[in-house]
Symmetry: C2
Subunit: 320 residues, 2 copies
Amino acid sequence: MKYIGIDVGGTNLKAGLVDESGLILATHSMKVGQVDDPDSLAWTLVSLTQDLCRSAGVTLDQVASVGVGVPGTVEVRSGTVLYTCNLSMKNVPLRKLFHRYLATPFYLENDANCAALAEYFVGAGRGSKRFITVTLGTGIGGGIIHNGKIFHGANGMAGEVGHMSIVYGGEPCPCGRRGCWERYASANALKRMTAQAVAEHPDSILGAVVAENGGHVSGRSAFDAMRRGDRVGRAVCEQYIDYLAAGIINLVNIFQPDTLAIGGGVSNEDDAYLLQPLRRRVEKESIPCSRDKMTKIVKAELGNRAGIIGAAFLGKNKRV
Amino acid sequence: MKYIGIDVGGTNLKAGLVDESGLILATHSMKVGQVDDPDSLAWTLVSLTQDLCRSAGVTLDQVASVGVGVPGTVEVRSGTVLYTCNLSMKNVPLRKLFHRYLATPFYLENDANCAALAEYFVGAGRGSKRFITVTLGTGIGGGIIHNGKIFHGANGMAGEVGHMSIVYGGEPCPCGRRGCWERYASANALKRMTAQAVAEHPDSILGAVVAENGGHVSGRSAFDAMRRGDRVGRAVCEQYIDYLAAGIINLVNIFQPDTLAIGGGVSNEDDAYLLQPLRRRVEKESIPCSRDKMTKIVKAELGNRAGIIGAAFLGKNKRV
């Protein structure tokens, strides 16, 4: 059987036809901007499904399920989008709307949970029984896989690790709290810290790195500057890793997963500069346990594909 | 059937014979000081078991299991104490040692997990599917019950919520980290904050409350002073609840349990002064979800009995 996974992002709806092994056989995407009400969203998902089948030469009968990942909160059981910021929709009974057009089994999930599920099945979490992914992007997305199942909590909204406060009384977060982890350790936070360092030290190597990049601060800028021996770049990286470690160690002490995978663009940084110092911190500061039982901190493997593959695999467990 | 539960505390070993409903039928206790090596610990547990049976008039055949809760880290599967500070023992294969003398099924668990299990079966967590207990004592103990089972993580050491750092770069903790929650929101932390406020404001009502108590600062002192209209006492309580809320909201955002029970002496404070302000904070700051799906913050119900009952019930699921 094949599965269809659709990743609803900030700009695009990206759909993929996925086989049992997690291979994406065909993709199709559309601008989110074209979607402006619940019914047009449902209809767009239906069209993407049909277009994918057509271009890949499969029939709907060969599609086990359609899965959709959205950034925001969903009610998994009923397939309802409770809230998603990028589409500004509330309480959309998406499964019900989708089934007006197509009878294919339909699953809805938070996008960070989809990414975790994908990594669990065919990525960095293969074989893990207690698995966590932490995705460093605009915010920090978390996905917890417990014995092969997404950990939903009582209401489907568990895993919001980005809104764990690590800096008491710290920076205000749009969620209403202060000091949320994602204000300090997301890719956006790294860029903000980098931009601030450039403003304070315009003559540093970091300043030159950013200038060479057309004045554009990226998640790599500080690491590039550090590689060129820059003190300012190094200070940004060390501070960033310190914030990142603070949250990771909290998660290890709370969950003691066997494997914790870090995803998002920042995770592509050289291991020597990101994962290795992070691992040293975790080893030093997490609750003592023998080394062979310590959480393995690894890089997520699927990159941008995780969203599509994970959404597709929402239907995978259901059939078994 | 009956169960025996033994709570290994800092000063005493407290054993109880418990029936299916969680009623403690008989108790027996011994000083921990009498125990000085692994074998004498095992033998003490055996004697307590035999004494309990004798005084309650039951035979060993009627005892389904003996369960032991220790503060520290244990390997549940093999029944080994990996580390416990109060007995200064490491890597003690307690089940194996116990079974040299008695064949009764033997279970070992962290004491905070025992407390959570007891509350789940016969206390504040009855009927909960996603349950967390937070016990405010010398430190902060956490227990997570997921679908009726203790959440152990990959290595049996999950749930160390007291060592979630909430104050970045904050107070050093003996665990090696800085800013651990238990440095700010345990009963000990409350006493420390109270003592400091008394030292800074000796002429306050809080100072008088402590003086009336023979100079002894308790977890109630600041609340008592607040009730008498004291500004200094109120400030301590508000600060304490703020720290407590910071960690509780983290746990809610990560786990979204249906019920979170707070135990330990501090939790006996009047609801109007502790639970109610805490609930308002959780409601205001946790990840938005409809009110009917919000985590219920409640008081633990079993008090000191939780340790014995939970240890006893370690064998409860095993037989089914």
